[in-house]
């Protein structure tokens, strides 16, 4: 998938920040307008290496003044449709999002507090995507792998 989007194959540790300007440019190139909310969302996503929940993004507008949920959802849908952002299930009620960087990451999720930590290790599933496609006849195979456990803080 590295070829699918124009992001640099950053040397990770864990994911070098992309300059906001480059991100904005990519968005504009994808046909999005450079709005206030877009800037804020990109800022937040870029600052976090681990997936960010919708709730956290809701604060994008500023203190004490959450942004409109409908607008936020629509923006994220657009970003996802353009391949700029990745939506992650995490087995929680609310979805999480990350910037689509040049490479793939997996996560550990705390069963107690819901905290998400980024794993910096080779993904064992990536190489199987092709095989899964061959075995099942599915096209365009992708995957999502999460580990669940209890984080140090919770016990």
């Amino acid at each position: 998938m590295a070829h699918a989007h124009p992001h640099a194959e950053a040397s990770c540790k864990i994911c070098a920040e992309e300059p906001p300007a480059a991100l904005l440019a990519a968005c504009r190139a994808a046909g999005l307008r450079r709005t206030h909310l877009l800037r804020r969302v990109l800022e937040i996503l870029q600052r976090q290496s681990a997936p960010v929940s919708i709730r956290e993004l809701s604060a994008a507008r500023g203190v004490r003044d959450d942004c409109d949920p409908a607008t936020l959802y629509r923006l994220l849908q657009r970003l996802e449709a353009k391949g700029l952002v990745r939506r992650i299930g995490l087995h929680e009620r609310a979805a999480h999002y990350t910037l689509r960087r040049g490479h793939h990451h997996d996560y550990v999720v705390c069963r107690e507090c819901g905290d998400v930590a980024l794993l910096d290790m080779a993904c064992p599933a990536q190489k199987l995507e092709r095989e899964v496609g061959r075995r099942t006849g599915f096209k365009d195979v992708d995957h999502e792998l999460q580990f669940y456990g209890v984080c140090p803080k919770c016990k």
Copy 2:
């Protein structure tokens, strides 16, 4: 995880059916009552190798007469708490459930129609659970791996 629950390490292909009586016995041993709904739910779960959505389980009571959602959710929670059933995210709005058989399976989900197919192949993530625990300090590590793609029917 094979030791965690008293299910036989069936020779798969794909997952030999367990006799309903054995399942019921396991439930009773776990402290559940052998109610009508429990029987129906077990029947359905046992018939399907792939994860079953809540919506499908809702028909558990019979034709044209869906069972009460609250009751169903509560039953599934109990089953999951006792380790008899496994809840799976699948990145969908509604949760899916499978019987916890003696061993682990992964799935391919169609991005278009939501169909879930069971994968009968060695899981590459299982052996990493321990390593993830060591690296992150998380305890009791478990995982969930899903592949996503477009199924043959959808294109």
